[in-house]
């Protein structure tokens, strides 16, 4: 049995230790897919609401910050999946953000404070 396996992250091959989690494997290679100082390039995914760049935090299946697409399945917690030879991993980078509004103009008229 080989000590390493080959996985593909955004179609780029990485040789990583066998038996570790996908999140750990990619964190271990973060230098190789980060060619600029742009922090967002290190992201595993962008938050679905505010599009902020996210990366693994708890590494034990609680925080959901390590979500990526693995073998075609989206939103998988990559810290809970063991690397397999030939695995296709894709980061979920989507920069479309929702910004909640909380200004006076967004209130229904009967609830604006200057309406009292």
């Amino acid at each position: 049995m080989s000590d390493t396996v080959k996985i593909y992250v955004d179609e780029k091959m990485m040789e990583v230790p066998a038996g570790i989690s996908v999140a750990a494997a990619i964190l271990g290679h973060s230098h190789s897919h980060n060619h600029s100082n742009d922090q967002s390039r290190k992201a595993f995914h962008n938050n679905s609401m505010d599009a902020s760049p996210r990366a693994p935090y708890c590494l034990m299946g609680v925080c959901f910050e390590c979500m990526m697409e693995i073998d075609g399945e989206a939103n998988v917690q990559s810290c809970l999946v063991t690397v397999q030879d030939g695995m296709q991993v894709k980061r979920q980078l989507n920069t479309e953000a929702f910004h909640y509004k909380n200004t006076e103009d967004d209130l229904p008229e009967n609830r604006r404070t200057n309406n009292d």
Binding site: N47, S48, M49, V62, F64, M67, N75, E96, F98, Y100, N102, E104, D106, L107, P108, N110, R111, R112, T113, D116
Partner: protein, 402 residues
């Protein structure tokens, strides 16, 4: 901190959303007030940390129109409250004042909800909501594909949703800036009357005395209020266990005469979704973090606060009938919560028998009611009257002289 004796004008027992709301109002009305809030460790069962954050006035309390009005009044004052809290705390509290929707499955449910709203309209004189058809629902929430059984929804423009934990944090931050003392991670072991205008609170940080006492400790109010009830049967078995963790769910305590009970809810939380729900749907509501909280159950199981898979799966199954796409989403977690439920489901704002300086606050819907709690309850706590909507919400209705 043991034996560190302190004196305050007002002590609020309980740092949940109700206690913080009235403490904020008290400090706002009198900046010289010496006020302390005592909050127990987070591992204790806390309703304020388990809820969705809905501001919900609609389709409730047909039999108690004043309580329905009280909710609408709070929603009306909410923008002003959030503006004040933001100015003092510098915390932006996410909120949508966009109305609220209760989806209906099948024709019978649609008719039943419609009948209820019609009766509410009659009882209240005016009511800012109505039933809407499936196509109107779809136009309000175009990014959600509703299940085939969805016939429409009950709509109310006064409802909304707030980020409950940030509301909580903003209150705490504002209070600290206003000079209030928040005693964190502190156990209240008991309260005693020194006479009827001085009270002693025994805490893990020593004894605290105060002129006025507010009991906003949720279900634990039964224990703390028991000193004021004459019936000695109610005052037994009040010993505090030595180990905090034995007391997680308060099971060992007799009820101290306060007519409230634990109303259990349990919810499922999905993974984060893109923002698709600008108007909250009751029962499966998207949070400001993008996750969806699914749950609607009311169960009476005492202080049993375990998650029961069979129960949450019923909630999940209902949510899939409303919004089938959720079947493709992961469940991140599940958690239980115990609502504070007065026996007649109407809020209790009351001095205790023979103790006009002690005020008990016990209600569900404490997020929705936060704005009226901050605005109107301080006057009553300091010896004035209750707002006209709330004047029948004392313990008198249960036969107590107070």
């Amino acid at each position: 901190m043991q034996n560190n004796h302190k004196e305050y004008d007002v002590v609020v027992v309980g740092g949940g959303i109700s206690g913080l709301a009235v403490a904020y109002g008290l400090c706002k009305n009198n900046e010289k007030l010496r006020l302390a809030i005592i909050d127990s460790p987070t591992e204790l069962n806390k309703a304020s940390r388990t809820n969705v954050g809905l501001l919900w006035c609609q389709s409730k309390f047909l039999d108690v129109p004043d309580f329905a009005r009280w909710g609408f009044l709070s929603c009306k004052h909410f923008p002003e409250l959030l503006q004040e809290l933001k100015e003092i705390s510098k915390i932006e509290i996410p909120v949508n004042f966009t109305g609220g929707l209760i989806p209906t499955l099948g024709e019978a449910e649609f008719t039943q909800r419609g009948d209820y709203i019609q009766k509410l309209k009659t009882a209240l004189g005016a009511y800012p909501g109505s039933m809407i058809s499936r196509s109107e629902l779809e136009s309000k929430l175009p990014k959600i594909k509703f299940g085939e059984e969805v016939t429409g929804a009950a709509w109310c423009e006064e409802d909304g949703v707030v980020e409950p934990l940030l509301l909580f944090r903003a209150y705490r931050s504002a209070l600290k800036k206003m000079g209030a003392t928040i005693l964190e991670d502190s156990m209240v072991y008991d309260v005693q009357a020194k006479d009827n205008n001085a009270y002693k609170v025994m805490t893990s940080r020593g004894e605290i005395t105060c002129e006025r006492l507010v009991l906003a400790a949720g279900l634990a109010n039964r224990r703390f209020a028991s000193f004021a009830f004459n019936d000695s049967d109610n005052a037994t078995n009040l010993d505090m266990p030595h180990n905090l963790h034995d007391n997680l769910y308060d099971v060992s305590y007799n009820h101290g005469g306060l007519p409230i009970f634990a109303d259990k809810g349990q919810v499922l939380l999905t993974e984060r979704l893109p923002f698709v729900m600008p108007i909250p749907l009751l029962g499966c509501t998207q949070t400001f973090g993008g996750t969806v909280i699914i749950g609607f159950k009311h169960e009476t199981r005492g202080h049993d606060a375990t998650v029961v898979p069979e129960a949450v799966s019923q909630e999940g199954a209902w949510a899939l009938r409303v919004w089938p796409e959720l079947a493709q989403k992961r469940i991140i977690r599940s958690w239980p919560g115990l609502r504070v439920m007065p026996n007649d489901k109407v809020a209790i704002y009351s001095h205790l028998p023979n103790h006009p300086h002690v005020t008990v606050i016990n209600t569900h819907s404490a997020v929705t009611l936060a704005a009226v709690h901050s605005r109107y309850l301080p006057e009553y706590i300091m010896g004035g009257d209750l707002h006209e909507c709330a004047e029948n919400m004392t313990l008198k209705r249960f036969g107590f002289a107070c």
